[in-house]
C-alpha cells in the first residue's frame, strides 16, 4: 500500500514537473529567448553568483568564529604549539588570496553582465601585471615554505639523549606498547618469534629484553622528551595521537619513530577542558582492514614522579612468562633470573 502511494505521488510530481518544463519551453519560444545570446536569466544568474559569494563569506566567518572551540582541539605537546601557530599563519595568508580571488570571480559576472552596448576591453597581455602576480605569490610562498622547513627539521631532528624510549606496535586491530624496563634499553625482537604469548616477538637471546614490560595503555611522563619507536606486525597502520599532533606510519619490516614532549598531564587537561571524563587517545590513521575504526589505545600522561612510580611497579614480561626462560641462552640464564626476580621463586 505504502509503495503504491509513494509511486503514485512520484508519478504525479514527475507529471507536474514535466508540464512546467514544457510550459517554460513554450514561453521561451514565444518570447524569442532562443534568438538572443543572453536573455533575462543572464541577469538573474549574475545576481545569484554575487549573492552566493557574499553569503558564503558571511556564513564561513560566522561558523568559524562561533564553533571555534569545537574544531580547534586542544594541543598538549611542545611542537604542536608551533605547528598550530604555522597553521594560523597559513590561514591568514590564504584567506587574503581566497577573499580577493573568489570575490572578483563572482563579482565580475554580475558587474560585466551581458549588455548589447558594451564594448569589451580586448585586454590581451600585460607583462608587468603578470610579473607582479607571479612574484607576489612566490614571495608569500617562500615565507610559508621557510617557516615550514624550519619547523619540520626541528620536529624530525635526532631525539635528545635523555628521551624516554617506548615501543608502539600496531596489529590488526589494536595497539601494544613495550617499555625498556630498568635497563632503559629495549631488547631485540624478531617477527618469527611471535606467538600468542610472545606477542611482540621478544628475542630472549638479547639480555636487554629480560626486563622489558608490555602495557595496553601508553603511559607518558610530562615535560620529558618521549621517543616512540613504531612498528607493525602485519599491515600498515599509523600511530596517531591527535592532541599531541603526532602521526607516524607503522610499517612492517621498517621501524619508524617520532619524538615529542608531552606538556600537559591527563589531569591538567581535564581541568583545562572542564571535562572530568577526558582522556588522551591513540588512533590508527592508515586504512588497515575492517577493524580500522576500532584501533584505540588509551594514553595517560602523568607527572614525572607518578610516572616513575608506575614504571618501577611493572613486572617484566619474562617474569610473567617464566616458561620462556628456556629460550634464554645458558650463559645469560643467571642474569635473566636476577633481572626478572625469578631466582628466589626458583630456589625456594
Amino acid at each position: 500500500m505504502v509503495i503504491l502511494i509513494v509511486s503514485v505521488i512520484t508519478i504525479l510530481i514527475l507529471v507536474i514537473l514535466s508540464s512546467v518544463f514544457k510550459i517554460y519551453t513554450l514561453i521561451d519560444i514565444i518570447v524569442g529567448n532562443y534568438k538572443k545570446l543572453a536573455n533575462s536569466s543572464n541577469k538573474i544568474n549574475g545576481v545569484l553568483l554575487f549573492a552566493f559569494v557574499i553569503f558564503g563569506f558571511i556564513s564561513l566567518s560566522f561558523y568559524s568564529y562561533v564553533e571555534f572551540d569545537r574544531y580547534n582541539i586542544a594541543v598538549a605537546s611542545e611542537h604542536g604549539v608551533f605547528t598550530d601557530r604555522l597553521f594560523v599563519i597559513n590561514i591568514l595568508v590564504t584567506s587574503v588570496v581566497f577573499v580577493i580571488t573568489q570575490f572578483a570571480l563572482f563579482y565580475f559576472p554580475y558587474r560585466y553582465n551581458w549588455t548589447a552596448s558594451r564594448k569589451p576591453s580586448f585586454f590581451v597581455e600585460d607583462h608587468k601585471l603578470e610579473f607582479i602576480w607571479t612574484v607576489v605569490p612566490a614571495i608569500a610562498l617562500t615565507v610559508l615554505v621557510f617557516e615550514g622547513l624550519k619547523l619540520w627539521s626541528n620536529i624530525t631532528e635526532t631525539p635528545p639523549e635523555n628521551s624516554e624510549v617506548i615501543e608502539v606496535v600496531g596489529q590488526q586491530f589494536g595497539w601494544k606498547t613495550r617499555y625498556p624496563g630498568n635497563s632503559k634499553r629495549l631488547g631485540k625482537y624478531d617477527y618469527r618469534l611471535i606467538d600468542p604469548t610472545n606477542e611482540l616477538g621478544l628475542d630472549l637471546t638479547d639480555h636487554s629484553s629480560f626486563d622489558d614490560f608490555l602495557s595496553n595503555t601508553l603511559y607518558l611522563p610530562k615535560g620529558k622528551p618521549v621517543l616512540l619507536k613504531i612498528r607493525s606486525k602485519d599491515v600498515l597502520h599509523s600511530c596517531y595521537i591527535p592532541h599531541f599532533r603526532v602521526k607516524m606510519d607503522a610499517v612492517p619490516g621498517m621501524p619508524t619513530r617520532f619524538w615529542f614532549v608531552p606538556q600537559k598531564t591527563t589531569l591538567e587537561m581535564r581541568d583545562e577542558l572542564n571535562n572530568p571524563d577526558f582522556d588522551y587517545e591513540l588512533a590508527c590513521a592508515e586504512i588497515c582492514g575492517k577493524g580500522h575504526f576500532t584501533m584505540r589505545m588509551l594514553v595517560k600522561v602523568e607527572n614525572q614522579s607518578d610516572y616513575e612510580k608506575w614504571f618501577s611497579s611493572q613486572n617484566s614480561w619474562l617474569s610473567k612468562n617464566p616458561e620462556y626462560l628456556d629460550q634464554v641462552p645458558d650463559n645469560l640464564k643467571e642474569l635473566a633470573l636476577v633481572k626478572t626476580g625469578l631466582e628466589n621463586e626458583l630456589y625456594n
Binding site: G56, V97, N113, Q172
Partner: protein, 625 residues
C-alpha cells in the same frame, strides 16, 4: 571497417557518401572519433552514477549510523549485518570502488576520452585521429576494464577494500582482508587493462596534435583546450607505465611468492616467509603515477574552462602564453612532487623537505592561471550559459581546493592533517569537483556539436546551482572536521571520544550528498531528452572562434566536406575593437578584417594567399598515391 589512411585522405567529394555503415560499424566498433567520444561520455555518465550511488551508500552509514538499512537487503544481501547495518568490510570496499571509479573511469576515461577524442580533430582541423583503429581499441579496453571492475562487486568475498591507493601489505596479503582475495585480483587486472586503454588513447592524442594540424594551425594558434589535452596525454604516457609496473609487482607478490613490498609480517597466527621487501616502494611507484594523475584529470578541465570563459566573456583569454607556460610548468612539476603523499610514512625527513619545497612551487603557476581567468572576465561582456556557470564553478573550486593544498603540502602541518577529512575535502574539491565541473561545462558547451541539438538552458542553470551549492555544502564542513583531526576511512566514530563529536555535521554532509546526487538526475534527464527532443542547434550557437563550429551540423566521416579550412589567426579574437562582429573565427583571413587588424597582423596578410593554396604533408602524400 575503414583504415586510417582512408579517413585522412584528401578529397573534394564529401566523405560520408562513400560507404554504407552498419549499426555495428557505426555505433559499436566505430573508428570515428566523434562516436568514440560519445561512447566514452555515455560510459562515464553511467560510471558517475554508480560511483555517486556508492558514496551515498557509505554516507548513509557515516551520517546516520543508527539508521536501519534492512530495506537494502534485497540488493546487498549478506553485506547487511543482522543488526541492519552495513558490513564494515563492505563499507571499505565501497569507499575503495568509489575512489577508483571516480578517479579512473569517470575523470580520466570520461574526461580525456570524451573531450580529447572529440575536440582534438575538430579543433586542429583533422579528418580523424591518427589511428582510428587504436582509438577504437582504446575504448574497448576501457570497456573491458570497466566490466572487470564492476564484476568484483558481485563476488562472495567482496571487492577490493584497501582504499583506492591499494597499499600493500593490506592489498597483498589475503589474510588481512577478505577484499584482498579475488576482489583485489580483479582490481589489478582491471587497472592493467585500463592502463593499456589509456596508453592507446594518449599516444593517439599526441600523434594527432603533433602531426595532423591543418594549414596555418601553428602551436601558438592552438586553442588552450588542445594544449591541455596534449600536456595531459604526455603526462599519462609517462606516468601510467609506472602504475603498471607497480600493479605487476603487486600481482607477483600476491600470486608468485615474491617479496617486493612485503617484509616481516606476522598475520593470522603465522609468520610469512617474505623478508627484505619495502612497503614504501609501492607507495613511491603508486604516487609517481598518482600525483600526475591529479593533473591528468584536472588539466582537461582547465583547458575546457579557458575556452568557455573566453568565449562567454566575449573577451580574449588573458595571457595566452602564460596560460600555456603555466600548464607546462604544472605538468613538469607534477612529476617531482609525488612524495608529498608520504611525509609521515617513515620516509627520510630530508626527502620530505625537498618534496615540500617542490610541492609548494606548484602554487605559483596555479595562481597565475586563476588570475588569468579572472582578468579574462574583467571588463568582458559575460554571457552566463550553463557551460560558463560550470566553468566559473570550476575556477572557484580550483581556488578553494588549491589553497587547502598549501596546508597539506607543508610537511609540518601535514603531520596533523594527513589522512584526515581535511585531505578528503581538499582533493574532492580541487580534483574531484573541479574536474567534474570541467566535464559538465564541456558537455553543456559542446552538446550542440555532439548531437546537433541544444540542451535546455534553464535546466542547465538549475543543475548548476544545485550541484554548486551541493558541493560546497558537502565539503566545507569536512574541512572543520579535518582540522579537528577526524581520520578518514572510518566506518564509525563511536570508539573515540575525540572524534565522536561531529554527528550533526556528518548528518548534514550526508544530506547534502543525497541532494547532490539527486540533482544530477536533472542533468541525466536534460542530456537524454535533448539528445532526441532538444531544439535544433544553430551552426555556431555560442559565437565561438574555434574550427569545430565551421563543420556542418552533423559532421560526417572526415569532419569537413571538401578541404579542411586553413587557419589564419589565434582562437581568441573576441570583442576586437573595430571588428564587424564581436568574434572572428580562426578561419577568417586577416585580409577580410582590415578594419580591426593590429599592426603586426596586417603584415601577415601577404602570406595568407600562400597558406590558402598550400597542402599539408598528408595531402601531398595522398595526391601522390
Amino acid at each position: 571497417m575503414t583504415t586510417a589512411k582512408d579517413l585522412r585522405s584528401y578529397d573534394e567529394i564529401p566523405h560520408d557518401e562513400h560507404h554504407e555503415e552498419t549499426f555495428i560499424s557505426k555505433y559499436i566498433f566505430t573508428t570515428d572519433h566523434k562516436m568514440i567520444s560519445k561512447q566514452f561520455l555515455t560510459t562515464a555518465i553511467v560510471w558517475g552514477l554508480i560511483g555517486g550511488l556508492m558514496s551515498v551508500l557509505f554516507r548513509l552509514q557515516l551520517g546516520f549510523p543508527e539508521l536501519n538499512l534492512e530495506f537494502l537487503r534485497p540488493v546487498l544481501g549478506h553485506w547487511i549485518t543482522s543488526a541492519g547495518k552495513l558490513d564494515p568490510e563492505f563499507y571499505l570496499s565501497q569507499v575503495t570502488l568509489h575512489g577508483t571509479i571516480m578517479v579512473f573511469f569517470v575523470l580520466t576515461g570520461g574526461l580525456s576520452g570524451t573531450f580529447s577524442n572529440f575536440l582534438i580533430p575538430l579543433q586542429i582541423g583533422a579528418r580523424d585521429m591518427a589511428s582510428g583503429f587504436m582509438n577504437m581499441l582504446s575504448y574497448w579496453f576501457f570497456f573491458i576494464s570497466s566490466c572487470l571492475m564492476i564484476s568484483s562487486c558481485f563476488i562472495e568475498t567482496g571487492a577490493a577494500a584497501g582504499g583506492w591507493t591499494v597499499y600493500p601489505p593490506l592489498s597483498a596479503v589475503q589474510q588481512a582482508s577478505s577484499g584482498s582475495g579475488l576482489g583485489m585480483t580483479l582490481w589489478l587486472c582491471s587497472m592493467a587493462v585500463f592502463i593499456v586503454s589509456s596508453l592507446l588513447g594518449g599516444i593517439n592524442y599526441i600523434t594527432t596534435i603533433v602531426n595532423l594540424r591543418t594549414r596555418g594551425m601553428t602551436f601558438n594558434r592552438l586553442p588552450l583546450t588542445i594544449w591541455a589535452f596534449l600536456i595531459t596525454a604526455i603526462l599519462g604516457v609517462l606516468a601510467f607505465p609506472v602504475l603498471f609496473s607497480a600493479s605487476l609487482l603487486l600481482i607477483f607478490d600476491r600470486s608468485f611468492g615474491t617479496s617486493f613490498f612485503l617484509s616481516e609480517i606476522y598475520i593470522a597466527g603465522e609468520a610469512l616467509p617474505n623478508q627484505g621487501g619495502s612497503a614504501l616502494l609501492f607507495q613511491h611507484l603508486f604516487w609517481f603515477l598518482g600525483h600526475p594523475e591529479v593533473y591528468i584529470v584536472l588539466l582537461p578541465g582547465l583547458g575546457i574552462s579557458s575556452e568557455i570563459i573566453a568565449t562567454n566573456s566575449r573577451n580574449p583569454i588573458f595571457g595566452y602564453t602564460s596560460m600555456v607556460f603555466s600548464m607546462l610548468v604544472i605538468g613538469f612539476l607534477s612529476f617531482i612532487v609525488w612524495a608529498h603523499h608520504m611525509f609521515i610514512t617513515g620516509m627520510n625527513p630530508f626527502l620530505g623537505s625537498i618534496f615540500m619545497l617542490l610541492t609548494l612551487i606548484i602554487a605559483v603557476p596555479s595562481a597565475v592561471k586563476v588570475f588569468n581567468y579572472i582578468v579574462t572576465m574583467w571588463r568582458g561582456n559575460i554571457v552566463l550559459t550553463p557551460a560558463m556557470l560550470f566553468a566559473i564553478g570550476l575556477v572557484s573550486f580550483f581556488i578553494s581546493g588549491g589553497l587547502t593544498g598549501i596546508f597539506l603540502g607543508n610537511s609540518a602541518l601535514d603531520i596533523q592533517l594527513h589522512d584526515t577529512y581535511f585531505v578528503v575535502a581538499h582533493f574532492h574539491i580541487v580534483m574531484g569537483s573541479a574536474s567534474f565541473f570541467g566535464m559538465l561545462a564541456g558537455v553543456y558547451h559542446w552538446f550542440p556539436k555532439f548531437f546537433g541539438r541544444m540542451m535546455d538552458h534553464r535546466l542547465g542553470q538549475i543543475h548548476f546551482w544545485c550541484s554548486f551549492i551541493g558541493i560546497y555544502l558537502m565539503f566545507t564542513p569536512m574541512h572543520y572536521i579535518g582540522i579537528a583531526g577526524v581520520p578518514r576511512r572510518y566506518y564509525a566514530f563511536t570508539n573515540f571520544d575525540v572524534f565522536n563529536v561531529f554527528s550533526d555535521l556528518n548528518a548534514f554532509m550526508s544530506t547534502a550528498a543525497m541532494f547532490l546526487f539527486a540533482s544530477q538526475l536533472i542533468f541525466i534527464f536534460n542530456y537524454f531528452y535533448s539528445m532526441f527532443r532538444g531544439r535544433i542547434a544553430p551552426l555556431n550557437p555560442w559565437h565561438s572562434n574555434t574550427l569545430e563550429w565551421t563543420t556542418p551540423r552533423f559532421p560526417g566521416h572526415g569532419n569537413w566536406p571538401g578541404r579542411i579550412p586553413p587557419v589564419y589567426r589565434w582562437p581568441y579574437d573576441y570583442g576586437k575593437p573595430n571588428a564587424k562582429d564581436d568574434f572572428i573565427p580562426q578561419n577568417i583571413p586577416f585580409s577580410q578584417t582590415k578594419s580591426s587588424n593590429l599592426i603586426h597582423e596586417n603584415s601577415s596578410v601577404l602570406t595568407e594567399e600562400n597558406l590558402k593554396n598550400s597542402y599539408n604533408d598528408e595531402e601531398v602524400y595522398d595526391k601522390l598515391h
